[in-house]
């Protein structure tokens, strides 16, 4: 399946300095009933974003018109809990292309990478720098350069790690399944011998 290609992104960012944001917060279970990948964005952070009678929660950052952009900056251990890929779909569908945190849960990180959302791991210190910069001036632009694996804000920058294979996939819009399908014969032999 062709996916978006990712090389460099310059955008304003949305701060969400909460730790251990689990996938039940990103997309609550009751919204997992769709059978397609689209439309999950409207329920992203549903129970933090809206009251039980569907009114926007005023002090939640996604309801604050000052903040916007394609980058979400969140506290450590982002995406823990359930393996629901719907969390990555919701983040993508809402319009985010990058999530920055000082630590990601494993399954979420994989799911994000499989859906053209780049998880950028930064140091605690750089995370604080980013959050402060955005909170002080919501118009602050953050640059995420995948080719050079570098994230920058206000002239300060930090290198980030990404698996070389996944980097290649993101840059070219490749899918894991393309590679696996190319191994069909070898897998068939393995299955028979097993």
């Amino acid at each position: 399946m062709s996916k978006d290609k990712f090389t460099i992104l310059k955008s304003t960012a949305v701060p969400l300095p909460v730790e251990n944001i689990d996938t039940d917060q990103i997309i609550p279970a009751r919204f997992l009933k769709a059978t397609t990948r689209e439309g999950f964005g409207e329920n992203l952070f549903r129970d933090w974003r809206f009251t039980s009678d569907n009114q926007p929660v005023k002090d939640f950052v996604l309801n604050n018109p000052a903040f916007g952009g394609k980058i979400l900056v969140a506290g450590k251990n982002f995406g823990c809990g359930s393996s629901r890929e719907h969390a990555a779909w919701a983040i993508y569908d809402y319009g985010f292309r990058v999530v920055v945190s000082s630590f990601f849960a494993d399954i979420f990180k994989n799911n994000a990478l499989n859906n053209a959302v780049l998880p950028v791991v930064v140091s605690d210190k750089f995370l604080q720098t980013l959050l402060e910069a955005i909170q002080q001036n919501p118009k602050t632009e953050v640059t995420v350069d995948l080719i050079n694996q570098q994230i920058s804000v206000n002239g300060k920058s930090e290198k980030f790690e990404i698996n070389a294979y996944k980097k290649e996939c993101l840059i070219n819009g490749y899918d894991d399944i393309d590679y696996l399908l190319s191994l069909n014969k070898e897998i068939r032999e393995f299955d028979l011998a097993h």
Partner: protein, 453 residues
């Protein structure tokens, strides 16, 4: 492993794949778009569990979206030729309960499912972990998944468990020590005589919650307890083939002196009945303890999240939980809804009545667990106590069906997650063992089970 190539993750062959209605529809869509079939239908098994009602399971599902999702699973399984244990089938149940009880889960297998609690199957010495839907599609299409070798962690528990302490307390204790992210990036092996002495059911509870400390998987070396459990299971090897399989399985345990990236050791005698007070499973304590104060937190960064969590729970930092009234008791989920869990609960409850202020739901993990409970007369014990025994499914563990804890209400739950809204919007969850949940049902409040037995 099928292939290790430079510049690519390893292509890992998957022996057993489980699917359910929530995380599979988009994967089947992907197959249709590419015009490909399921690689080997004999290696995938489906069941309906997350969405299903626990009352009137013989009737069509009332809620339209849930019904649509279960019907989509039916349609997909039929079209692609995958075996489905649908509602009403004698093998239907929570995917991580039915795999082991049917003998589909076997030592040494590689196993995946689009569900993070797939780690449960590690109790048999299998390599089992949760995956996302794109990966479900990969496995359906190629029977393989792309993986890098994880780091390894060994957690050893030695010594004798105290009175009223069961395997749920062991795992809640470990998570409270290392936090909800303490094992991220690791595969965990649980070892030590306190683990060895546990039944298979109890071992599954421990492996089940590996993901709650961030580990993709957790496993326990297979031994005589494992082989005894496997013998005679429907899809386990039979007769001579079983004996041969056991010989093979005996080769699986890690070598003496195997090196792990991290080794942690705990003394079983230090573990007491546990309960969580916050909104991630790492926020747990001995039931007799008090919640930490903000000042007691090691990291300043954590303070804001800690306060947010306790605000949500309606609890004061520094306060105790003993005696705190609860509104609901949920006994169920892939963590604690096996027959042994129901027996434990019944042993505490027999001849007693639930407190008036609580509603108690007992949700068996599978149709087979339900049948066994009826056979043993546990239903009578529950009925006399005023507990509601319903049909199998994931139920109030994640509130995808009608079983939801109302806003602001407290539920003591044998499930695995206390996240905000997990059991229903604004619901508040205390995670605990089936024993602790059972006594809370009787007293109507958080209680130290040791005062009761």
């Amino acid at each position: 492993m099928v292939k290790r190539a430079d510049g690519y993750p390893d292509a890992l062959f998957i022996d057993r794949h489980f699917i359910h209605e929530v995380t599979s529809p988009q994967a089947f869509d992907g197959l249709r778009k590419r015009g490909i079939k399921v690689f080997n239908v004999n290696r995938t098994t489906a069941t309906a569990d997350h969405n299903v009602p626990t009352k009137d399971q013989h009737l069509p599902i009332k809620e339209a979206l849930s019904r649509h999702q279960v019907e989509t699973l039916r349609k997909n399984c039929k079209e692609f030729g995958v075996e489905l244990y649908d509602l009403g089938h004698p093998f239907q149940g929570i995917v991580h309960i039915i795999g082991p009880e049917l003998g589909l889960t076997q030592p040494g297998m590689t196993m995946v499912c689009g569900d993070s609690h797939t780690s449960t199957h590690g109790a048999f010495g299998s390599v089992a972990f949760g995956i996302g839907t794109s990966e479900v599609e990969q496995v359906l299409a190629t029977q393989c998944i792309l993986q890098y070798k994880p780091k390894t962690m060994k957690i050893e528990i030695n010594g004798k468990l105290g009175k009223g302490v069961v395997s749920k307390d062991i795992i809640l204790y470990i998570i409270s020590k290392i936090s909800a992210s303490g094992a991220t990036g690791f595969f965990v092996e649980y070892a030590g005589d306190a683990i060895r002495n546990l039944s298979m059911e109890a071992r599954m509870t421990i492996c089940n919650m590996s993901i709650e400390m961030g580990a993709r998987g957790g496993l326990i070396a297979p031994d005589e307890t494992t082989f005894r459990y496997m013998k005679g299971r429907r899809f386990a090897p039979q007769g001579e083939a079983f004996d041969k399989a056991v010989e093979k399985w005996k080769q699986l345990p890690s070598d003496e002196g195997a090196v792990y990236d991290v080794v942690l050791k705990y003394d079983a005698a230090d573990i007491e009945p546990m309960i969580t007070y916050g909104t991630n499973p790492g926020m747990g304590m001995k039931v007799t303890d008090r919640i930490p104060t903000v000042e007691e937190l090691k990291e300043i960064n954590e303070q804001a999240s800690f306060k947010k969590s306790l605000d949500y729970m309606g609890l004061e930092p520094g306060s105790a939980l003993l005696g705190k009234p609860v509104d609901y008791v949920f006994i169920g989920s892939c963590t604690n809804a096996r027959i042994e869990d129901l027996r434990l609960v019944a042993s505490i409850v027999k001849g007693k009545k639930k407190a008036e202020n609580v509603e108690v739901w007992v949700i068996p993990g599978s149709k087979q667990v339900e049948e066994q409970a009826l056979k043993e007369g546990l239903n009578k014990v529950f009925e006399e106590a005023g507990f509601e025994l319903r049909g199998p499914g994931c139920s109030a563990c994640l509130g995808m069906n009608e079983d939801k804890v109302p806003p602001g209400k407290y539920c003591i739950s044998t499930s695995n997650r206390n996240f905000e809204g997990r059991q229903g919007p604004k619901s508040r969850t205390f995670l605990a063992s089936p024993l602790s949940a059972a006594v809370a049902a009787i007293t109507g409040k958080v209680t130290d089970v040791r005062e009761f037995i």
